[in-house]
Structure formats: structure tokens, C-alpha cells
């Protein structure tokens, strides 16, 4: 704030001697221009390592992958140009359509539930619980470790036929099925694993909830609003930007899930392909079946699908996201 104000004032030629300097008394504008020239090259130099990384580690491989998507590449011999053959193949590939179905089902189930849970827990924590830091940390830990191989292996154990869940159910006299190797349930163990990692969006919601001025709640109490009304009429509308952010981030994250599906289904995509996530099928085609060209085409299609969902979200956001600086609707 201070910077732009002082620059504005100086630019408008108010001509006051700089309050903070014993520097050369050249015209403020010239001094700033020279300074800016130095700043520009300094900026690029600072950026250099990151730019190198961007081009060499990200954009370069992406461009190569785009090229590969139009080739037949078996990893071991040089790629052969194919044209759009890989893309045509996707449309006729049953397993590809299955992978798409499974992934979309996963996203449609886990993302809304995860947002709801994280918002709810954040709202509860916001009521001023003692040891808030502890709860916040505890709920955040799964987000940090949840994507790991170790957790996935543990999850597979827990939901296996002799696992923890079934042992607990056995005390209640219920003979549980093998959750991870039954096509009706396997995907939902993965959804649960995703939901368990609600800590990350929760932290964001918590931060947002704290920004809501208490006066609004007090005023609504005066008007006779109960907690539910307060939640839906005040809390939710004011944090719609955060809901929007989390919605996009969680959608992208869910569509890219790999570890959990790979470990829990032992690399196969689950009983009768019920946990064949898009990325898992991509991996199988690339590294097990030596069809890297096809897998690259799948990767770029995934990019387009995610871009599509994100675009839809952005367009829809105009309807339901209320930013503070936009006038009320």
C-alpha cells in the first residue's frame, strides 16, 4: 500500500524531496528508471534456476510427450510416426472407457464429500476449541502422508479379508467381505482413503472462516437466526471463493491419483478393473505393455479433460462465487 502510494505521488510530480534518502538529488523519475533497469536483469537472474527447471524438467518433457502421442513407441526401439492412430484407438478401447468411468466415478464421489467434510470440521474447529493447534495438526497429518506407498499398503491390509476392519466386524458377529478384492467395494476403499486426507482443504477453510467478521453472526442472532441458518446464510456464501479453490484443486488431484490404486490393486486395476484409475491404465500401457505412444496420447487427453473440468468450474463460478470486492448481487 505504502509503496504504490508513494510511487503514485512521485509520479504525479508532487516533487517532494525523498523523505528517506541522502541519495543523489536527480529527478525522481530518472532515478526510478535506472533502478528499474537493474531490477529487471536481477529478476531474471534470480529466476534463472527456476526457468531452467521449467523448460528442462517440465515443458521439454511435455513437448516430447506430445510428440510421442502421435507415434508408436515401445520404449526400447525408436518411435515411429503414427498420426492420430493412438487417439482413434482410445475411443475403441474398452479398458480405456472403463478407466475413464472409474476415474470419473471416483472424482464425483470423493470430491464433494471431501469438501463437505473438510468444511464441516473447519466450522467445528472454528468455534474456539482449546488445543486448536493440536487438532489442526492431527487432521493435517493424513494429507501429508496419505499419498505415500506406505499408507496405501497399510490401507490394503486394513481392508483386506483378514484385515483390521473385518476383525472389528467379527467382534460384532459380522463376516465382512474382502473389501479390496470385491469389485463392488474396492473403489470405495480408495474413496475413503481420499476422504481421510481432508486436512489440506480443511486448513484452507479454517483460515477463511477466521476472516468472517463476528459482527455478522452477532447481527444475525439479533434477527433470530439459528446455527444452521448462520452457517448457510453467512458462512457458506462468504467462503465461496475458498470452496471454489478447493473444488478445483481437489478435482485435479483426484483425477491424477495413482499410488493408492496401484498399491491397493497390486498393479492390476483391481478385481475386474473396478479400480482401474486413468493414470493406472496409462502406466500399464506405458511400462508393462510397451505402448508408450498410446500412453502419451492418454496423458494429453487427461490434460484436456482436466482443463475442460476446470474451465467449466470457472464459468460456473460466476454464478455462485461471491468475492468481497465485487458488489453484492
Amino acid at each position: 500500500m505504502t509503496v504504490s502510494r508513494s510511487i503514485t505521488r512521485s509520479l504525479s510530480g508532487e516533487g517532494r524531496p525523498p523523505a528517506f534518502g541522502h541519495e543523489r538529488s536527480t529527478h525522481p523519475r530518472q532515478r526510478r528508471r535506472r533502478f528499474r533497469a537493474g531490477e529487471r536483469s536481477a529478476g531474471y537472474v534470480f529466476l534463472l534456476p527456476w526457468l531452467l527447471g521449467l523448460f528442462v524438467l517440465t515443458l521439454g518433457p511435455m513437448a516430447y510427450s506430445l510428440y510421442l502421442s502421435f507415434t508408436d513407441f515401445d520404449l526400447l526401439t525408436p518411435p515411429e510416426w503414427l498420426g492420430v492412430g493412438n487417439y482413434q484407438r482410445m475411443l475403441q478401447d474398452d479398458r480405456y472407457l472403463q478407466a475413464l468411468k472409474v476415474t470419473l466415478l471416483f472424482v464425483a464421489t470423493s470430491v464433494p464429500l471431501k469438501l463437505a467434510i473438510s468444511l464441516l470440521v473447519a466450522a467445528l474447529l472454528n468455534k474456539g476449541i482449546a488445543a486448536l493447534d493440536l487438532y489442526r495438526a492431527v487432521y493435517y497429518v493424513p494429507s501429508m502422508i496419505g499419498g505415500s506407498v506406505a499408507i496405501a499398503i497399510m490401507w490394503r491390509q486394513i481392508f483386506g479379508s483378514d484385515g483390521l476392519i473385518n476383525q472389528v466386524l467379527a467382534w460384532a458377529g459380522i463376516d465382512g467381505p474382502s473389501w479390496v478384492s470385491n469389485p463392488s467395494y474396492a473403489l470405495y476403499t480408495l474413496v475413503l482413503l481420499g476422504l481421510w486426507q481432508f486436512g489440506a482443504p480443511m486448513i484452507i477453510f479454517l483460515a477463511g472462516l477466521r476472516q468472517i467478521p463476528q459482527e455478522l453472526y452477532d447481527a444475525s442472532s439479533v434477527d433470530g437466526a439459528g446455527s444452521v441458518a448462520k452457517f448457510f446464510r453467512i458462512t457458506v456464501p462468504l467462503i465461496t471463493p475458498l470452496i471454489f479453490f478447493n473444488l478445483i484443486m481437489q478435482t485435479i488431484w483426484s483425477m491424477q491419483q495413482f499410488n493408492s490404486a496401484y498399491i491397493i490393486s497390486d498393479g492390476s486395476g483391481g478385481p475386474v478393473d473396478s479400480t482401474l484409475f486413468y493414470t493406472l491404465y496409462l502406466y500399464q500401457e506405458a511400462f508393462t505393455n510397451f505402448r508408450m505412444g498410446y500412453a502419451s496420447a492418454m496423458a494429453w487427453t487427461l490434460l484436456l479433460i482436466i482443463a475442460f473440468f476446470t474451465a467449466v468450474n470457472f464459468l460456473g463460478a460466476r454464478k455462485w462465487v461471491h468475492y468481497e470486492d465485487v458488489g453484492g448481487r
Partner: protein, 444 residues
């Protein structure tokens, strides 16, 4: 931030320099790190080799490490770093390494040999025969097993035959006898049904092997006079064969003799097999050299048994198979050193004979004799079984598995799973399998 204009120029300059320096260091660090990455080149004074293999038991891994140390002592200019892990996932990892241009110098291979050889990944070792590689006391068939299209791409490490391993103690407990060596698929069905009825709950008489391509080959296709793959890389059997096979297993599942889809789909390695978990008295599609491995996993009296055949009087379906190969990467920087190391692993009696069960059926006679002197009872049982089966219950197999074999295995596995979960009818599954297999074989 307040002093953005003016005095800040001084402070900025200092920090400016520090940050540029820091950035340069970081950049140099990155480049340096990527430079000393994981290439198998050597420094000018010797060769650093990477060897990968899968290992079923700790003893084997330890012996391999010791073997490498002995080799390093004999040839101080060679250093071998070994990477090993379980069989599950070994080839996925290897594929990733090869794709990244990072293939290990020395690799353990199995049935997949043709897949890699066909794509030029493996070094032609013919140039080293008679020199770094000594094959003088080998059987010609065992040398030939490692050839693909005229090139010697793999050195046979050991031979084995298909086998059943069963828990004799468990069978004693439930008072069921396993039929004799010449038992048929019908005998297996009766046996399995009887076993499953002795106990309630999760207990079955056989593993569901409908999706096991090797057993399809050895139990059904070959005894019926056909081969899995015909010349020219096509399937050598017909849809009726597969329908009969899959129906057999479907009926066993329906009778409760074989576990339902849910149980078989759980997957995992030998340590999660039904034999080890005590839920089934046998494992059907294993090999004669794996008895020590299972002995480590379950503390019970385990025995080897011949695999059932299709019908009485059919020709034997088993064949002496090359168990594993050692191959070198076509892109290795140290071909001669790699050949030397592999030769030592296979042909040097002092090293090879310590490598457990496999050495007992090694191609080199010197190694076999040395291994026999060192073998324990369990290993000798495996050898006895191998000798017995190879002399009585095998017919030779000429065609090695063509490229695409691995994917066809997956196709059959998924087809059987679809049937087990009642997602598809058997004839539909068979149609799908044949269509898929033709596509895969056609693409190779």
C-alpha cells in the same frame, strides 16, 4: 518495503550479489547432481556395473552378494552393485529403467527373454563365448534356449519343471490323500471337493488356476497334442479348448472346491498364497526349484508333486524349461566385464554352487556336481523331483514364448476373473481373449 525508492539501492545491491551467488550455486549444484546421476560408466580405473535380479528368499540374496564380492576380489577392476527385490513388480521397474536409458548392465530374465531380445535391448553374447564365457560342459539344448533369432541373448542359469507343492502335514490332519503322479484334472476335481468339505469357512482344495496361462499349457493344451503358440507367433489352440478349460474352473468354484473370485483377486506374492495362509493344502502352478522358498514361509512338511494332466494316457504336458537367464544390456559400457561377471555367476563352481537350489540344475556339469556336494535335504528333494519329472513326464518344447506372451497372460487372468465375478459369460470371455491375443500377437 517502505524504502523501495532511493536508499534501498545500496541494500539491494548487497543482497543482490548474495542472491545471484546463491542462485548460481544452486544451479551449479543441480547440474552437478544430474551429471553424477546413475550412469553405469566407470571412472577411468575400472568398471562399475549394476546388476538386477529378483530374489525369493534372503539366502539367495545373501549368496548373490557374496558371489559378487568374490568376483570383485578376482577382478579388482570390477565393482558390482546389486539391486534386487521381489518378483512382483521386477519387470515394471526394469522397463522403467530401460525406458529411461538407465538399463542395468546385468539383468536376470525369465520367460520374457524374447520380449526384450526382439526389441534389441539385450547384448549378443556370442562374441564372448570361448573367451570370457565358457560353455564347454554345457548341453547344447541349454545353450539354444538362450538364443533368439540367432543371437545368444541369455545365458541359462538353471532349469526347472512345473510342479505342485502341497502341505503333507495338513493333508494328514484332514485325512485326505493326494492322488498319485499320473493324476488327471478329474482326479484334481474330486480331491479338491473332498478337501474343501472337511472344514467350514475359508478352506479350499485347490487354487483357482483358470487364469494361469502356464497351467493351461501344461495341464490341458499340451496333453491334448497342441502347443500354446504355433509357428509364426499365433495361438496354437482353439476356442473350444479354452471354453473347456474355463468351464472346468468355473465348476470347481461353484462346487466350493476352488475359492471365489474375491479371494483370488487379492493377489500378492508367495507370502500371501493360500498354501502359506493355511487355507488350501496346495499351490498348483509353481516350479520345482521353489521348495526352499516356500519352506521359509510356512513351517510345515511340504512336498513336490507332478502337475495333473488332462486325461489318462495323454502325452506329458510338462517340459524342461529354462528357469532364469542372465542377460546383459545392449547399451552397457562394459560388455566384457559384464560377460565375465555373468560367466562367474553361472560357471564358476565356487560361486555358482552357493546360489542355492538353482545351481543343482545349472547347465554346467561342474557346477551341478559342486552344488550337489553343498546341498541340503530340501534342495536335494527339488533335484530328485526335477530328475524324475524330466525323465518321465516331459515332452520337449521347441518354441520359446514369443513377444507379447506377458500381455496374453494378463488377458487370460482378466478373462478368468470376469467369469469368476459373473461379469461375463464364458463364451464371451473366450471371444474377447482370442480377439485380444490376436491383436497383441499381430502388433509384435
Amino acid at each position: 518495503m517502505r524504502n523501495m525508492v532511493g536508499r534501498v539501492t545500496n541494500v539491494f545491491t548487497r543482497r543482490h550479489l548474495l542472491r545471484i551467488g546463491g542462485g548460481a550455486l544452486a544451479g551449479a549444484g543441480l547440474l552437478g547432481l544430474s551429471g553424477c546421476g546413475s550412469d553405469s560408466g566407470g571412472s577411468s580405473d575400472g568398471a562399475d556395473l549394476r546388476a538386477t535380479f529378483w530374489s525369493g528368499d534372503q539366502a539367495f540374496s545373501d549368496s548373490m552378494q557374496k558371489g559378487f564380492k568374490t568376483i570383485e576380489a578376482q577382478r579388482p577392476d570390477i565393482r558390482v552393485s546389486a539391486q534386487f527385490g521381489p518378483f512382483n513388480g521386477y519387470f515394471d521397474k526394469l522397463n522403467t529403467q530401460i525406458a529411461g536409458g538407465n538399463a542395468p548392465d546385468i539383468m536376470r530374465m525369465a520367460d520374457q527373454l524374447s520380449q526384450y531380445a526382439d526389441r534389441g535391448v539385450l547384448l549378443d553374447l556370442e562374441q564372448f563365448v570361448g573367451d570370457a564365457i565358457n560353455l564347454d560342459d554345457w548341453d547344447e539344448t541349454q545353450i539354444a534356449q538362450g538364443r533368439w533369432e540367432g543371437k545368444l541373448v541369455g545365458l541359462t542359469d538353471t532349469s526347472n519343471v512345473h510342479a505342485v507343492i502341497y502341505n503333507a502335514a495338513l493333508l494328514n490332519e484332514i485325512n485326505v490323500e493326494i492322488p498319485g503322479d499320473e493324476w488327471t484334472m478329474d482326479d484334481l476335481a474330486d480331491f479338491a471337493t473332498e478337501v474343501a468339505q472337511t472344514r467350514d469357512g475359508d478352506f479350499w482344495g485347490t487354487v483357482d488356476s483358470g487364469g494361469n496361462l502356464s497351467l493351461l499349457q501344461v495341464m490341458y493344451v499340451r496333453p491334448n497334442g497342441k502347443e500354446l503358440y504355433a509357428d509364426g507367433g499365433r495361438l496354437g489352440f482353439q476356442k473350444e479348448d479354452l471354453i473347456a478349460w474355463l468351464t472346468y474352473w468355473d465348476e470347481l468354484r461353484a462346487a466350493g472346491a476352488a475359492p471365489p473370485g474375491e479371494v483370488s483377486a487379492a493377489g500378492g506374492g508367495p507370502d500371501s498364497s493360500l498354501l502359506v495362509k493355511g487355507q488350501c493344502p496346495l499351490i498348483l502352478g509353481t516350479f520345482s526349484n521353489l521348495l526352499p522358498q516356500f519352506k521359509q514361509l510356512i513351517d510345515s512338511e511340504l512336498e513336490l508333486h507332478v502337475v495333473p494332466t488332462a486325461a489318462a494316457g495323454s502325452r506329458p504336458g510338462s517340459f524342461v524349461r529354462p528357469g532364469t537367464f542372465w542377460s546383459a544390456s545392449a547399451r552397457t559400457d562394459h560388455p566384457e566385464e559384464s560377460a565375465f561377471v555373468m560367466n562367474a555367476l553361472i560357471n564358476n563352481p565356487d560361486i555358482a554352487s552357493t546360489l542355492g537350489q538353482n545351481a543343482l540344475t545349472a547347465p554346467s556339469k561342474r557346477v551341478r556336481d559342486a552344488a550337489k556336494a553343498n546341498a541340503d535335504d530340501v534342495q536335494l528333494k527339488g533335484l530328485e523331483f526335477f530328475d524324475m519329472v524330466s525323465s518321465r513326464y516331459t515332452t520337449p518344447l521347441d518354441t520359446p514364448p514369443p513377444p507379447g506372451d506377458q500381455e496374453i497372460r494378463d488377458l487370460l487372468d482378466r478373462a478368468n476373473e470376469d467369469i469368476a465375478f459373473k461379469r461375463i459369460r464364458i463364451d464371451e470371455a473366450v471371444d474377447g481373449f482370442f480377439a485380444g491375443a490376436e491383436t497383441v500377437l499381430g502388433q509384435q
